[in-house]
Amino acid sequence: MREINEIPAEKFRFVTPKPQQEQNLPGKHIGYFREAFGRFRKNKSSVVAGVIILCLVAYAVFVPIFCQTSYSVALTDTTYLQYTKLKPRNKLFVNWGFWDGCSVKTISRGNYLYLQGIAQETGQPVIKKVLKETTDTDGNLQYKCRVDSYLAKGFVHMTLSRAEYEKIQAWEKANDLQVIYPAVEGQSDANIWYKANRKGIPQLDSQGNYVNQYAVDETGNFRYAMVTGDGSSYRCRVFLYNYFQYRYGFEPSFLLGTTGQGQDILTRLASAARFSLVFALCVSAINLLIGAVYGAIEGYYGGTADLLMERITDILSRVPFLVVATLFQLHLAAKVGPIVSLLFAFVLTGWLGIANITRMQFYRYKDREFVQAARVLGAGNGRIMFRHIFPNALGTIITGSVLVIPGVIFLESSLTYLGIVNLDSSTMTSVGTMLANGRQYLSTDPHIILFPALFISLLEISFNLFGNGLRDAFNPSLRGADQ
């Protein structure tokens, strides 16, 4: 037989006279994800939900960085000042009648005079406006008025060192604001500087004026400080509103108010939001990883492997989440911390959903032609699973793991609300804990609970809308439906 090594090219001849030029399809090529994105964009509510989620994320990330009541200060110091339960206030709205840190209260005459006492001493409008004068069933006068919650805190007794005392006095001169007011002897309530009865109700003189009871030194001047102990520290009556300015350099004004412990809600909630979002993302990502691998193996191999693995998931899926979370808290919280043990609890049963979705997708695709083609070309099982089938299932799987997020946030907030998981510390918190702490003030200061509740409601609604939009966009059964 003759060896054919080199055949000159010109000896070859096309079977058809002209080789068919491979024609490009007319129009632009649109990939799977591009198409899904296009469909997603048409769903207005989902896009809006996506924007809201971005805003909430931006809030969680940037507020603690840029906020004037800086993160650490708001979390530690206001607690120390006892500047608690302040109403939301924006300086721009001070004269607008809302968002001005005031609350409408119906108070007795005694209370009214008490607050007016603070106003008269400091010259600040503690009671902004009297809306209505009424008499209660016993014929006592009652006032319905707008009370400035920032000023109504009034005075506190504070023990200062000599250096600090002098520093405040220097600051007072420089800024023309009075922090330390004349001392009063024998009064435990720092707000009372006048003659009052045992209940603290002011006793006015015949002209209706307050009768001051300031302590006087030998020369007849008011005493501003009582020397305590060995003489190294002074006990002073300090006006909180101005003391705050001395300490932090700006007027107290909390956009969302402060909590029952005196923490700024704006930054506190941002830290809670940060935790919720990061935690939910972590859970979702870990679930995605475990669930995808497990489901891929189940779906791809099928048969006995599938049967056995399904029984495992059957049993796991029946374990009540609450029981798991509790057991993990009891066992692991002391060793690895409550957050990690909560993460374990979520992961233990959380990946089942993703595994199920992945399994279904693998069943759907594993006998398709492109998979057979890949196998014929010699691709191994791993390559077929993760290079050929998985990308096709990716849309559905990602949608599944996005839809997990609102559930995780809800469960996490419930557990922290109930106190089964306790994450509260001076630097971090969770929405559930904020709600639980605010609950006791629900009747008098609903704003403490309002903002965390509003935040979590908004987050849940947006994530659900966003997830649904994503699902519709990736759902191939809708392909071409809207054309």
Binding site: I315, R318, V319, T326, H331, I420, S443, I456, N464
Partner: protein, 324 residues
């Protein structure tokens, strides 16, 4: 059919056993409080543990496997879950649990009674008015109601109805006078909070199923043979839509018995949920085991009943058939 049910029940028992064993072992592995802390009740606790076969007469540990065997014998065969060691010191766990159960069950039954008809009605109405403004309004409302966590409604209801308008007491009445007018009135806020999201859930599900059925061609036939729109909807569409709806209602009703911890805690309902939370906080492990078993049983039963109910509702579905 019978063999299928037997198989399912067998699997239920197996799963239950695995979960409860897991709980028991994990709880027993926890460092135990020294018996001295019980003070003068020490003898009571020690005796109870001894009688339960969990420790020897002096309160010293005995092998875990022996404990486990005794535990299964006591709980599963004798319904003896031991005494409360912290929360209700010395009292029988099961007795306390049974005292608390009616509150939870009643509240959830009322919530279901409110939610099922309302939810179905809204869902049917929305499906019939598909893509009209009525549907859009209902769907948007449902979306919001489903998404917003139930405790947020609870706060809203408590603030507006209880604090501001003073229509209802802030917390639920205690006591066992379950049907007195006062008790019923104090139950309204928790029932409302529980039912709002269920209403939305039922409405969404019903609308989804019904719109799907309404596109079926057999409905066209029904109209063509002269039935009115109402007749086709009631006799044909709704019946078919009920096939998935009824099992989901059944499962909800069963699952709902386990109650909502958070609603119970907000309205201070003296129910199982509050008991669970306080047992965890007090580290009362006997209660924890009992309530875990309770929640597990509820979940497992709901699953089985749902699967079986498909067969009863839809004769086309043959349960346990080899080639379905």
């Amino acid at each position: 059919m019978a063999s299928y049910i037997a198989k399912r029940i067998g699997f239920l028992l197996l799963t239950f056993l695995i979960i409860i064993s897991m709980c028991f072992v994990f709880i027993r592995l926890l460092p135990d409080d020294p018996p001295e802390q019980f003070g003068k009740d020490m003898q009571l606790v020690l005796q109870s543990r001894y009688r339960q076969g969990l420790a020897d007469i002096n309160g010293n540990p005995i092998p875990l496997l022996t404990q486990y065997g005794n535990f299964l014998k006591n709980t599963l065969l004798g319904f003896n879950w031991g005494i409360s060691e912290k929360l209700y010191l010395g009292q029988d766990c099961l007795k306390i649990f049974l005292e608390k159960l009616p509150n939870t069950v009643l509240i959830n039954v009322y919530a279901s009674l409110l939610a099922i008809p309302l939810g179905l009605a809204l869902g049917i109405y929305a499906a019939l008015k598909k893509n009209r403004w009525q549907d859009h309004t209902i769907s948007t409302g449902v979306m919001v109601l489903v998404s917003v966590p139930s405790y947020v409604y609870a706060f809203l209801i408590q603030y507006f109805l209880c604090f501001r308008l003073k229509l209802f007491p802030v917390v639920m009445e205690a006591g066992r006078d379950y049907f007195s007018p006062q008790m019923l009135r104090s139950m309204i806020p928790p029932v409302l909070s529980l039912s709002l999201s269920s209403i939305a859930g039922y409405a969404r599900f019903t609308r989804g199923e019904l719109t799907e059925v309404l596109t079926g061609e057999f409905l066209l036939l029904a109209r063509a043979k002269g039935l009115s729109r109402g007749q086709t909807t009631l006799r044909h569409a709704l019946r078919n839509a009920m096939v998935p709806i009824v099992p989901s209602i059944i499962s909800e009703v069963i699952a709902v018995l386990s109650g909502s911890l958070i609603i119970e805690s907000i309205f201070v309902v003296p129910g199982v949920g509050s008991l669970y939370v306080s047992a965890i906080t007090a580290l009362d492990y006997n209660f924890f085991l009992l309530l875990s078993a309770f929640y597990t049983v509820i979940g497992l039963t709901a699953g089985i009943v749902v699967d079986l109910s498909y067969g009863f509702i839809d004769p086309r579905i043959r349960i346990g058939a080899k080639n379905a």
